[in-house]
Amino acid sequence: MGEAKYKVGEKVRVMKAYPPGHIRTPFYIRGHTGTVERICGAFPNPEELAQMRDGLPAQPLYRVRFRQKDVWPDYKGPDADVMEIEIFQHWLEPA
């Protein structure tokens, strides 16, 4: 199992990359910066599983919290509104 590189509360950026294949990182969040809310454990990499491989070593999975206003500059709701998304470690970089 891969070691978790980031801690709860740490700022992370989702990589702005567009590889082909089965990716569980939504397009709309790529390139955005958020804060680690919790570490969910480690799970086989879905991009590998989709290719009928074993997905090992398991990838640490995080729940990352983003401010809506950071993701959608024209967001109409209050500043405090947030979204939380599960992101695998290999899609994150330090921010």
């Binding site: 569980r24 990182t25 939504p26 709309y28 969910c40 454990g41 799970f43 879905p46 999975l61 729940r63 809506q68 959608w72 967001y75 109409k76 709701g77 209050p78 405090a80 509104d81 947030v82 979204m83 939380e84 998304i85 599960e86 992101i87 695998f88």
Partner: protein, 203 residues
């Protein structure tokens, strides 16, 4: 288009045909039996939001259970005899300051073991794309207006976790039994698009 006449032969649709072909192949090759498939379908149909409601009602009446539920949803459900295999359950609590709502923008991940089969709107493109983009407007269309001083927290279920909203216990239910409380907990309130039923009318 003419309405299909009930009781008359209808040709199979593309996906029905694919399902029948795959099922017959699996049986023919001895990988599954017809009885196993029937039982699995029956079990799947037997899972209803009442399971989730039981979890919520227990959390409303037992603070220690609630604490365990928020820490580790899967383990806490096992205590109630609810086996949730292949499902890491994250329970998110609504409070006077925070309103939670669940969506899966990539497909339609849903806590089926606790809520059964998802409603069609949950799988619709409109819900999936709009709930992350303009949650307050979408909630308003469900009849739920969230005041601006309450934070809206949208959970996009993208990988291995599944989510359940723990709604706020309705006022005026002091001293109620778990069973009575469970009857107020609706499927939609556990997805986060509505509040539980109010105790007034059918108490």
């Amino acid at each position: 288009m003419a309405k299909p006449e009930l009781g008359k032969y209808q040709p199979l649709s593309y996906f029905q045909l694919m399902e029948v072909s795959l099922r017959e192949l699996l049986v023919e090759k001895g990988l599954l039996t017809e009885e196993q498939i029937r039982r699995e379908v029956e079990d799947m149909r037997g899972r209803t939001p009442e399971r989730g409601a039981k979890v919520v009602a227990r959390a409303w009446t037992d603070d220690a259970f609630k604490k365990r539920l928020l820490e580790n949803g899967t383990k806490a459900c096992e205590e109630l005899g609810l086996d949730v295999p292949a499902l890491k359950l994250v329970v998110v609590e609504n409070t006077p300051q925070v309103h939670n709502v669940i969506v899966c923008t990539l497909c339609s991940c849903y806590p089926r073991m606790l809520l059964g089969i998802p409603p069609d709107w949950y799988k619709s493109r409109a819900y999936r794309s709009r709930m992350v983009r303009e949650p307050r407007e979408v909630l308003k269309e469900f009849g739920l207006v969230i005041p601006p001083d309450i934070q809206v927290r949208v959970h996009d279920s993208t990988a291995d976790m599944r989510y359940l909203v723990l709604p706020m216990r309705p006022e005026g239910t002091g001293g109620w039994s778990e069973e009575r409380l469970a009857a107020l907990v609706t499927r939609d309130s556990m997805i986060g698009v509505s509040a539980p039923k109010s105790p007034g009318k059918n108490a």
